[in-house]
Symmetry: C2
Subunit: 78 residues, 2 copies
């Protein structure tokens, strides 16, 4: 699939995973910290789901970053 | 409900509505431009739904703004 037409959430998936690894958190630890189900975190990181903005906001807070910075980083890759 | 505990998408709802009105678009026109169902745009603006990040991205593009700028504006209100 050409890069330009890749759905936005696929880029966001990679950004979230990178930030989680940088924070030294497992998917389980991030899920617990963000009060999100751990299977949902896996689905988001694999790009199987476009997270709702509320979930994205919670994940960003749990990662200690601003939600807008995650969104911006993913947007730059589109 | 105290301002601080209001769900993120409720703030985003207001930001999207404000930007749509500023752009002089009806909900129907925005929905068509973004390829999103018009009833979904109404639900988002009324704060009944937390949009997925893909939908938020599409709406931002249809509004002619960066998605991260919508997200940031809503984040400031949290």
């Amino acid at each position: 699939m050409p890069h330009k037409t890749m759905a936005y959430h696929k880029h966001l998936a990679k950004v979230i995973q990178e930030r989680r690894l940088k924070a030294g958190l497992s998917q389980e630890a991030l899920a617990a910290k963000a009060s999100v189900h751990r299977t949902y975190v896996g689905m988001i990181e694999r790009g199987e789901r476009s997270p709702t903005c509320d979930i994205g906001y919670k994940l960003a807070r749990a990662l200690g970053v601003r939600f807008s910075s995650l969104i911006e980083e993913a947007e730059k890759r589109c």
